[in-house]
Amino acid sequence: MSKTLCLPEDLERRAVVVAGLRTPWIKAGRAFRSMSATDLATHVVRELLARHEVDPKDVDELVLGCVGPTSRESNIARVVALRAGLPASMPAVTVQRNCASGFEAVDDAARRIAAGEGTIYVVGGTESMSSYPLIYGTKMTAFFEALSRAKSKRAKAKVLASFRPSMLAPRIALVEGLTDPVCGQIMGKTAETLAADWHIERNEQDAFALRSHKLAAAARARGDFAGEICPIYLEKNAVAEDDGPRDDQSADALGKLRPFFDRREGTVTVGNACPVTDGAAALLVMSEAEAQRRGLEVLGRMRASHVAGLSPERMGLGPAHAIPFAADAAGVTRDDLKVWEINEAFASQVLACSRALDSEQFCRDVLGRDGAFGAPEDSVLNPRGGAIALGHPVGATGARLVIGLLRQLHAAGGGVGVASACVGGGQGHAQIWEVAA
């Protein structure tokens, strides 16, 4: 059965988030292509502590989520801790719950504080999908690039002629990574399944993707993200903004894309799925009492966190499985939730979640509830866009969703909200957060 984490009332034992910071979210193979997941996280952790004048010696532990650390950084949290100048005497642990690893890191700190194990934690997640062999560093990348650029049949043939079987090796690693070993489906395929289950047409998915881009581009233009981003200084330039959201994204362009996972009859394209992305995010978590002692303003309090399990073929429905239970534990209903941050792995998957939450049948038969929980209003669902525009560095996404949720609630003058994500392998993770008015 699924479990819910509820936070104690005791201020010494209750975790709050004091601050959060992230790198820009950059599409794989672009500005961060030569940076490792450790590099990204090191920058963020260092800067987070500096901005809040926390002496690294005061931190009890670093907890980082990461899905695909390279073989050189297997306990990536420890590598980051040492490189970021945290003392060698401070331990560090990497947590992995696939796409919810960032949430898991927060849960972990909350549990530790609740248990009285420590008082100050740096938590977060990091992912360099550029470092995944397919995307970067192999001849395969160059091959794909050349192939996509080749216009004429002759040019294509020429590029194809350069193919060598050895180029395939890294491809297998990535496919394995994105394929559920139990049900044998690649993630995009599970999104197709949900589209069919819930009757979500291609144009609906594309419309949702367009919405994501519009909202994210607008938020970026307003500077909504600036306060949570720590720029990364490269030799030639400073990278200070997410590069995913397209100001000029049109429905037409999305409509022209071919389905990627089911070439003939599919509805899921690279346009209505999230791109592979590099990024790292970190949060400063401490007991509420410690924050008070330090005179630090509390950004947000976690009310409850719930992880649900479901069949891996329908992993995208994870949020619909988790959110109602987290809300129950926090004692809130659908109408109390002012902002919903649901990770957009695929448009079909988020839309399916909405439909499921609105469905009395689903909520009764599958979740065992009396009636429908209720889907979010359009205006409160991912108001700053989501992963379809911004991207989804899997290990880090959870941390970004929390930062974004808290900042939005803060800007709205406080309230309760939910952050949730579907998880490859068939899980859903949801956290209910509260920001004081």
Partner: protein
């Protein structure tokens, strides 16, 4: 055989280990160095070892072992300093040679177990033993750095090393005075084996039981060492490299000749040549000057103890201002193990800073001075940010923002409340008085100046600037930081231009005036300076500094000392015409890639603006004006108490602007030339230029020197000729070729970097 430990005095003891012998060398509180007492102790020890060799045929061998601090750090430099008689020097060489020859002749296997310093005489000693093993500890350093003190290895080292590893490998080691770590020494073939420090003694004793296979030279090395033709090739190449430097530094060339002589005529002849060379070099002025600088820099390294023995080290810093200096300082700190946050409001500046440290680290990696993980760590210690925060846990905050009083004071007001307890606030100002800057501070005792020179990664000197309110602990901690960064510090008073720039400005001003009078003589003027031994001429230096930067420094000084300095008009003219020096590609010179030629535009700009006077100053005149202007200002600094001692002043000028180390620094040079002569010449020049007014302190010291110059006070000189200037080749007033500076031919475009001494970490650029 007697049991137990035999003590020969001087920390030399012999103990038995079954049928093996262990000769232990202990330096007591310090490092083990060869002084007279220790040489005598080893002579007694070797007599006993020879007796054992005769009486005890079962003896299986001898291990020579140092203590925890090291093996043998070489000869006591004070002993070298004190030698004034060539006969004594030669005898000292022969005495060491005899001692080591006796060790070499022992009838049982001998082995040096090396941990820590094994340098100079210590290395020569180890070479006299059959074999060497070394501890892998990073403190292990093996080499023959004698040339850096202006002498040569004279206890057989030149001969034995060449024979052990071959001429082509041995020469660079000795000529550059390289210190090798254990692994590199093994690669070079000097040590046979590298073992963990903890097992050094055990492995050494075990090794005595093993057959020692003599290393064979590779065929190529053998040919280059043992055939006349091969030696000819190697020798010619080495000579070509040494040629320019040899004018200033005689030691490397003598060393080369000694090595070649020994290979040609046999070891015995080689040893004799070593002794002859030492007699000459050790009593010469260059050696004395280099030794004096050596002591001065040793003292500078220990300076922190003079202020506060218990001062805590600096582990992390914040550098504010990511301009050329700030970025350079942050790069230096991060690469030297100091965690550094670099703050600048402009993201572009931070990106440039990132590019700078990456380039620096990349270069270090390429040169094998840094391993990949060390390079990574250096980059991780470098934290660029636009946010003015992150002071928690930082030991020192250094500000390198624009040189404007209000800007700096405004910044201090913002950051002082954020500093941790005990943190230091430092400024890199080169022109604003510290007492002005300290005015608004709540805690001026923790504020001081730490003045780096450009580029900070390379320039070996740091001026630590004190003011009335600063605490000794603050000074001590800043000094410790300088040490950690590998810099030589000098503590100076808060006064315009501090020390280095103040002495430099009159020198540059003279060059500018000469150039303004005769704009066609840019290269000639610079050549006069490089002939004197400066690493580059004053006008080229101005290009490196940047015309605008130099102008503002000179202006500050002109305002402070209006009676003898003026804001240089020539610099203003260049600046107005967009000739900023290297950074814009053109100043006095056009800089294209690695080449540079004097700039036609600069000549035109200067030529049209300033009347050329009819006088044609002679080359000597040019030199006298430039060097004397510098030297006189140095005396004024002494007079004003800017710096505590002559030694520190000289060290600062050698490390700060590259005053020729062979001359020992401006004060030393003046003393060697004769203070009375300097004063007389200055008076002559002062008729037309107030910059040459003789400072009272010079008169006073000249008077004292005259009284003392009764026999024996000055180090004896071997040349003793009329041109008895500091270097033996240059005198201030030698009336040589009275060439007009316009008509002389030949150029020196200053790219000739071979004019460098191995020790020579000297300055290339300044402010």
């Amino acid at each position: 055989m007697t049991a137990g430990t035999q003590d020969f005095g001087g920390g030399v003891t012999l103990e038995r280990h079954g049928s093996k012998l262990v000769l232990s060398l202990s330096g007591g509180d310090g490092l083990f160095v060869f002084d007279l007492a220790r040489i005598e102790a080893l002579e007694r020890a070797v007599t006993e070892l020879e007796r054992i060799g005769r009486d005890d045929k079962g003896c299986k061998g001898l291990v020579v072992l140092g203590d925890d601090k090291g093996f043998i750090a070489g000869a006591d430099v004070r002993m070298i300093e004190s030698i004034t008689d060539p006969g004594v020097a030669a005898e000292m060489a022969r005495r060491g040679q005899r001692l080591f020859a006796r060790f070499e002749a022992l009838p049982y296997p001998t082995l040096a177990a090396i941990h820590g310093a094994c340098l100079g005489g210590g290395c020569e000693f180890s070479l006299a033993l059959d074999r060497r093993i070394a501890s892998s500890d990073e403190s292990t350093k093996i080499g023959l750095p004698e040339v850096q003190l202006g002498i040569l290895p004279a206890w057989g080292g030149t001969q034995r090393l060449t024979r052990l590893i071959g001429l082509p490998k041995a020469l660079p080691l000795m000529l550059q005075g390289k210190r090798l770590d254990a692994v590199r020494a093994a690669k070079a073939g000097i040590v046979d084996r590298v073992v963990p420090r903890a097992f050094l003694r055990e492995r050494a004793l075990e090794d005595l039981d093993r057959r020692h296979e003599l290393r064979k030279l590779k065929t190529v090395d053998r040919m280059l060492t043992w055939t006349a033709a091969g030696r000819g090739i190697v020798g010619k190449k080495a000579r070509a490299q040494l040629e320019t430097a040899a004018r200033q530094f005689p030691a490397p060339m003598r060393l080369l000749e000694t090595v070649l002589h020994g290979l040609k005529h046999g070891e015995a002849e080689g040893y004799a040549a070593e002794a002859r060379a030492l007699a000459e070099l050790a009593t010469g002025p260059v050696c004395k000057n280099l030794v004096r600088l050596f002591f001065a820099s040793e003292n500078a390294r220990k300076l922190a103890n003079r202020f506060d023995k218990k001062a805590a080290p600096i582990e992390s810093t914040v550098v504010i201002g990511g301009g050329v200096m700030g970025a350079g300082i942050a790069t230096l700190c991060a690469t030297r193990g100091v965690r550094t946050r670099l703050i600048d409001l402009a993201p572009e500046a931070l990106s440039r800073a990132v590019a700078r440290i990456r380039k620096h680290v990349h270069k270090a990696q390429k040169r094998r001075r840094m391993k990949p993980h060390e390079a990574q760590a250096a980059l991780d210690r470098f934290e660029p940010s636009t946010e003015l925060c992150g002071f928690r846990g930082r030991d020192l905050v250094l500000e390198a923002v624009a040189e404007k009083l209000e800007i700096k004071q405004g910044l201090y007001a913002k950051i002082e409340p954020k500093l941790c307890d005990g943190a230091i606030l430092a400024t890199n100002t080169s022109s604003i008085p510290l007492k002005e800057l300290a005015k608004g501070l709540a805690a001026p005792e923790r504020f001081l100046g730490v003045h780096f020179f450009n580029p900070p990664e390379q320039m070996p000197l740091v001026e630590i600037i004190r003011h009335d309110a600063v605490s000794d602990t603050t000074i001590a901690r800043a000094l410790k930081l300088a040490n950690k960064l590998g810099k030589t510090p000098v503590v100076v008073q808060d006064a315009p231009g501090f020390l280095v720039n103040r002495c430099l400005a009159p020198y540059l001003a003279q060059a500018l005036e000469l150039c303004a009078r005769r704009p066609s003589s840019i290269e000639r003027i610079d050549k006069v300076a490089t002939d004197f031994g400066m690493p580059m001429g004053p006008l080229r230096l101005l290009d490196e500094i940047g015309i605008d930067v130099a102008e503002s420094v000179c202006t500050v000084l002109a305002n402070a000392f209006p009676e003898r300095m003026q804001a240089p008009r020539a610099l203003a003219l260049l600046r107005e015409n967009g000739l900023f020096g290297c950074k814009t590609g053109e100043g006095f010179y056009r800089h294209e890639g690695k080449k540079s030629t004097s700039s036609d535009r600069a000549r035109k700009v200067l030529g049209t603006a300033i009347d050329t006077s009819p006088e044609h100053p002679s080359l000597d005149d040019v030199r006298d004006r430039m060097i004397l202007a510098l030297v006189l200002e140095a005396f004024r600094c002494l007079q004003d108490g800017i710096v505590a001692s002559e030694e520190e002043l000289d060290l600062a000028m050698v490390f700060g602007i590259g005053f020729p180390p062979a001359h020992g620094g401006p004060i030393r040079w003046a003393r060697a030339t004769g203070l009375d002569r300097i004063a007389a010449r200055a008076k002559e020049l002062a008729k037309n230029d107030a910059a040459f007014e003789v400072p009272p302190i010079l008169e006073k010291l000249a008077g004292e020197a005259a009284k003392q110059s009764v026999p024996g006070s000055e180090p004896a000189r071997s040349d003793g000729s009329g041109s008895s200037g500091g270097s033996g080749s240059d005198g201030a007033n030698s009336v040589s070729k009275d060439t007009d500076i316009d008509t002389g031919t030949g150029t020196n475009n200053g790219n000739d970097r071979s004019n460098k001494h191995p020790t020579d970490e000297r300055a290339a650029r300044t402010p």
